[in-house]
Amino acid sequence: MHKQGQFSISVVCIILGIMLAIQFRTTQDIRSSAQYERADDLMKRIMQVEKERTALEDQVHDLRQPPGDDAAAKDLERIKIGAGLVPLQGTGIIITIDNTKQALSPSNKNPNLSQIRDEDILKILNELRAAGAEAIAINNQRLIATSEVRTAGSFISINNKNFATPFEIKAIGDPVALENALKIRGGIIETIQFWGIQVVIKQSTVVELPAFKGTFRFQYAHPDQNGGK
């Protein structure tokens, strides 16, 4: 009896040994597994990426410093103003437009008619530019050569950022000329006011425009080696 007990216990011990060995291996696997080291690993990566980002920001800052050469620096400054990379201030006007606040009248059932659309803003911009506006920003988005103004769902996308009403258009230029151009009889302001859109135009001696905050990337355009001749 005792002998037999020893034998079956030994057999079971073999199985137990196999299980133990597998468990050892599994435990080791867990220790070295991604799950276990994941948090640690991610933390390290975040730190590294943050460090890289700071370094790159410093680099950008250094590269943006104007070079020592005076004439070249002036040239660069003019080009940067033209490209919208410099915050500007000067005399100009501030136009605030908002959707109608009044309830829809029975004769005007289509709510889309009293919504501001990209076309309205584009017409205002066109009018401002024709009247000699030197720099324009909408909701503090500086408009540059590649800026778009386009309806995107219920928003209007400007510089690839979505904005809802109200819109504040700031333009630097001759305040009187700009305002007169907009308020001309039968002009754009009269038209949109007819549809119930609220327009407030304010002349100002100090209009401040932010710089364009995006980046320039030219994937398809390359400078022409022949100088375009």
């Binding site: 005792h2 216990i9 040994g17 196999i18 133990l20 291996r25 696997d29 867990i30």
Partner: protein, 109 residues
């Protein structure tokens, strides 16, 4: 007394060279089953030393304990009761109890 230890060694060696590895999700069940088996073996040793060893009881106890423990933990996980710790506690307590009894037996002999 040496035969079980030799068996354990053989088992460890086989397990080491077997290309089996547990998925990590099942490590919990495996550990509970392992503890249940350990408890059974110590129970068997204790019964053997007390002279009331029953082969059938031992063999069935070994396998059912292991599978039932793993199964209960699995069910507990499904229904949101952490039976894992309960199983660990129960089998752990019994392992130490059995150890103490075996030790007493050897001391008295």
């Amino acid at each position: 007394m040496f035969l079980p230890i030799i068996g354990l060694m053989i088992g460890l060696l086989i397990g080491k060279f077997l290309p089996i590895s547990m998925p990590i999700e099942y490590a919990k069940y495996m550990s509970v089953a392992l503890l249940a088996s350990l408890d059974s073996v110590f129970g068997g040793l204790r019964a053997g030393s007390e002279g009331k060893f029953d082969n059938l009881v031992f063999m069935t106890g070994f396998f059912t304990n292991a599978f039932m423990a793993a199964g209960l933990v699995y069910i507990g996980e499904r229904i949101g009761i952490d039976l894992y710790y309960v199983a660990l506690l129960t089998f752990g307590l019994r392992v130490f109890q059995n150890l103490a009894i075996i030790r007493h037996y050897f001391l008295k002999r």
